[in-house]
């Protein structure tokens, strides 16, 4: 587990009884703590009790699906919340954001054009449909060259990485703060990147998707300039593949879960 390699441990909280959790842990060979908050008192104390559930629904007592990355002293370091309860942020995305960790077998491509080299990769080859996966882009520019950040006037192309195709529901790219470059001859001050830097992006994958190889086409847009010349804007296309793992909880179980919302609570 990438999180454990980084000195983190995982625990999951639900309103299930200890017996139910014991059965689940055994069936799915769960290697971390499943905590039983029967009666949802801790869920209420965290302020994440879901008040939308009618008391006669089985889902009465569930929390909003929040994940907290907590320091050993109890301080929240990061908080992850995806409104759809089937979607979770991947462990590899958390490891990448917090520690810059990338798996050995992680898929990556290197794009080169003149003074610019960019390596784009996922921290892990494995992913699940419906998951938020992170990607890392390492930029390296030769001395004297720069590319642009946001926001630039018309005529300049800011740096961007985007994934295309029907498999990506939502995406974002966090670039570091650009440095402001003053160009006295042009009477302009422009946000630029030079040297080496990295950016972290995020993709929310569609759900459902078939298991197996998922090829994600993407494009990198940029405009290379030096103090003397400005090249034309460029778009470089690339492909990165992920391997979609089967859900631990099957589609049938998910459907049963929906159906069970019709039934009154059993206990």
């Amino acid at each position: 587990m990438m999180l454990e390699k980084n000195g983190l441990r995982i625990a999951a909280v639900s309103y299930d009884s200890q017996e139910k959790l014991a059965a689940f842990a055994q069936k799915h060979a769960i290697g971390f703590s499943l905590l039983s908050d029967k009666g949802s008192e801790t869920i209420r104390r965290f302020g994440i009790f879901n008040f939308n559930m009618a008391p006669d629904l089985r889902s009465y007592g569930v929390p909003h699906p929040v994940e907290f990355l907590v320091a050993p002293d109890g301080t929240v370091v990061k908080k992850y919340f995806v409104p759809n309860y089937q979607h979770r942020v991947s462990g590899s995305a958390i490891a990448l954001r917090q520690f810059g960790t990338v798996n050995q077998d992680a898929p990556a491509v290197t794009l080169e054009s003149g003074a610019l080299a960019v390596q784009i990769g996922f921290p892990s080859a494995k992913a699940y449909a419906g998951q938020e996966v992170a990607f890392l882009a390492r930029f390296a520019l030769q001395p004297g060259w720069h590319i642009y950040g946001e926001t630039v006037p018309a005529g300049y192309t800011p740096t961007a990485i985007s994934f295309e195709g029907p498999y990506v529901v939502r995406q974002s790219l966090e670039l570091p703060a650009a440095e402001m470059l003053n160009l006295p001859k042009l009477r302009e001050t422009l946000p630029v990147y030079s040297g080496s830097f990295q950016a972290i992006g995020s993709l929310l994958l569609k759900h459902p998707l078939p298991e197996g190889k998922l090829v994600l086409p993407g494009r990198l847009c940029f405009q290379l300039c030096s103090d003397a010349v400005c090249e034309a804007p460029q778009t470089m296309q690339f492909e990165l593949a992920l391997t979609l793992e089967p859900f631990v909880i099957s589609e049938r179980d998910l459907n049963r879960a929906r159906a069970s919302e019709k039934k009154p609570p059993r206990e």
Binding site: A12, G47, V70, R88, E261
Partner: protein
């Protein structure tokens, strides 16, 4: 803030049931049903303590019946504490 008054709980339950009925029957779920299910389950959602704040103390039994708190759950760099619906359904 979550609407704690029960006036729209019946409407929300109906939206959840309709979503569940279609999914169970393996029928396509129209966008408006998906939307209203998302509204019904997430309306006024709250996400608890923010980065920089402390989480409340807790002590809960794990799957083996042992009472666990942050102190003995955390690794050297901390704990990922995941709140989820249910392991049973």
């Amino acid at each position: 803030m979550p609407d704690k008054t029960p006036h729209d709980l019946a409407e929300k339950a109906a939206a959840m049931r309709e979503f569940g009925r279609l999914r169970e029957a393996g029928l396509p779920v129209p966008a408006e049903v998906r939307e209203s299910h998302l509204w019904a389950t997430n309306d006024g959602y709250a996400t608890g303590p923010d980065p920089g704040q402390k989480i409340p103390d807790f002590a809960l039994p794990d799957q083996f019946g042992a009472l666990r708190s942050l102190n003995d759950l955390s690794g050297p760099h901390g704990l990922l504490l995941v709140f989820h619906r249910s392991a049973d359904w």
